[in-house]
Each structure stands twice: as C-alpha cells, then as structure tokens.
Symmetry: C2
Subunit: 182 residues, 2 copies
C-alpha cells in the first residue's frame, strides 16, 4: 500500500496508470471513462490533462518508446565486452524483466494503430542495430544472424505467454550456436 492520498493527479500519473493498464488489459483499456473509473476520479480530470483520447495514446506511446530505448542502453551499459553484452541483450529481448506484458501489448496494438506501429518499428530498429554491431565486434558480419536472434527473441517472448518453456536457456543456446561460427 502506497500513497492513498494523492487527491491531485499529475499528467504523468495518468500516463503511468495508462502504461499499467496497457500491459494488464491491452490498448482497448486506454479509454477516457474506463481509465477515470480505474483512477477513482472522473473524466473531468482526463480532459483537463489531455486534449482528447488520441492525445493520451500518443503520449503513452512516446513515453514507452523513450523508456524502451533507455532500457536498451542500460542493458548494454550493464556489461563490458561484446560477448557478455550480446548475451545480456538477447536475454533482455526474450524475457524483459520489467515489461514482458507491455511489450506484448505494444506488438498487438501495432497491428491496428499506426502510431504504435511506428514507435515499435523504431525500437525494433535500434535493438536490431545494436545486435548487429555487437555481432560485428565478435567477428560475425552476416546481418542475417542479428535478424535470427532478434526474431527468436520476440518470438519467445510470445511463446512464454502460454506454453511454459525456458526462454532464458533457449536464447542462450541460440547465441552459442551463432558464436560458434567464428
């Protein structure tokens, strides 16, 4: 139980709650009145902080993109050396500690929402580029390999939702397989 008192909400409170709802219930939950009910307030507050529903959506997407790119940097900075970084990055894609549900909801949203599709494409691009750079450093120039690892990562993130399986181990094995090409 935390702060039961914040009678006054900030715009970021709304965006943070929106991000949680997105992860928990999908993009369909990001509507003004349901959100207001969830926040135990009224939509008067919603329309004070946001122009309209699309505005809310855009800001949530922008927030997510920023944090996803920051997480990417954090993962890379958490290790030294190309191979350890490669492993850490692959793991974080296959099973992100914070945000597996969020990531999944974003991919779902992207199939119908143009803004989500664009934001996700930029994040995918950045991660793929990072993978490719690390592989190059270890002497693997073939760009197909980065694509294989990234695709396997996001695929496992989805398989992890239903069928129980060891993504952590599997993605590690794949990295081994690729590194054996040196």
């Amino acid at each position: 139980m935390i702060a039961q008192r914040p009678k006054r909400l900030t715009r970021d409170d709304w965006l943070a709650a929106g991000a949680k709802r997105l992860a928990a219930a999908g993009a369909e939950a990001l509507k003004a009145e349901p959100m207001a009910r969830h926040m135990k307030t009224t939509k008067g507050s919603f329309y004070w902080h946001f122009k309209d529903v699309p505005d809310f959506h855009d800001r949530i997407l922008s927030r997510w993109e920023t944090s996803a790119l920051a997480d990417l940097s954090a993962v890379l900075d958490g290790e030294t050396g190309a191979v350890p970084r490669l492993r850490a990055l692959a793991q974080s894609i296959a099973a992100p500690e914070t945000g597996s549900a969020t990531e999944s909801a974003m991919r779902s949203w992207a199939t119908t929402h143009a803004g989500a599709r664009a934001a996700l494409a930029r994040v995918d691009e950045a991660r793929l580029a990072a993978l490719q750079d690390l592989l190059s450093e270890t002497g693997i120039g073939n760009p197909e390999m980065a694509r294989i690892i990234y695709a396997a990562g996001i695929g496992m993130e989805r398989l992890g939702q239903t069928g129980a399986g060891d993504n952590h181990g599997s993605i590690g094995s794949l990295v081994d397989l690729v590194l054996a090409l040196r």
Copy 2:
C-alpha cells in the same frame, strides 16, 4: 468480380467475411453492426445466423484453428523426407503465403481474448511438436532447437510487417545452422 448475386447468405459466408476482416482490420472489426454494413445487409441477418457476438467469435476461432491445422498437414504432405519437410515447415511459419496478416491478427487477439489464446496455443503446440519430430528424425534430439526455430519463425512473421527483410533467407540460414549440429 465474382458472384454479385448471393442475396441469400449462409453462415459460412459470414464466417469467411469475418476471417477477412480479422486479417484486414483486426478483431475489433468483428462486431455485428459493422460486419453487417460491410456485407451490405443488416444485423437482422447476423442475429439470424449467430446467437450473439461471442458466438460469432467462437465460430471464427474454431474455423481458423481447423484451417491452420489443415495447412500444417498440407505443408508436411507437400514434401518427402525429414529435411525438406523441415525446411518447408520453417518457411511456412516465417512467411505463410496465405494468412500472414491473419496469423498476426490472431496473435494480437490472443493477448486479450481467452478463446483466441487457447486456440492459438493449440496450434502453436501442434507446429512445435511437428518441428520437434522432424528434428528428431534428422538426429537432433535437443528440444531447444525446435523452440528456437519456431520462435524465430513467428518473430520474423512480425518483423516482416514493418522492416523489410528477407525472412525466407534468414529462416533458411537458421535451419542450416541447426542441421550443422548433426
């Protein structure tokens, strides 16, 4: 332009149209009144053929599951020998000729709809088992490898939506990588 005349619709006409709409516009489009408008009829017809909207959804899911499992058999029957079958199966997962958009919409739907999640889990299970069997036949017993190939396949299906890349070639390279383990 085909049959402009079918003034009388069958239940399967509705389901076929629903499958198309699902692929084109996502599960949100599978509502009674929008569907009726799309079919140039009224919801009187809809509620004649279906008890309610969930009933419509369930039948669409059931139809998709059946056809996905049939496609799986067809792909396997289209080749002889474990390795050719393995390649054909991997290709069909990464870039299904008919139904890349459908498959994507199903995965999106599965994040919020329990029935879709269950149907997709059964299909995933069947494909994964088929992959594993084929790998066993070629002498690769490690079940992680099937998981890696399948995850890469569904991941590439998603990457193909936005970033242009050669899924066909990449998944083939992955199969080569795994087969080199023999």
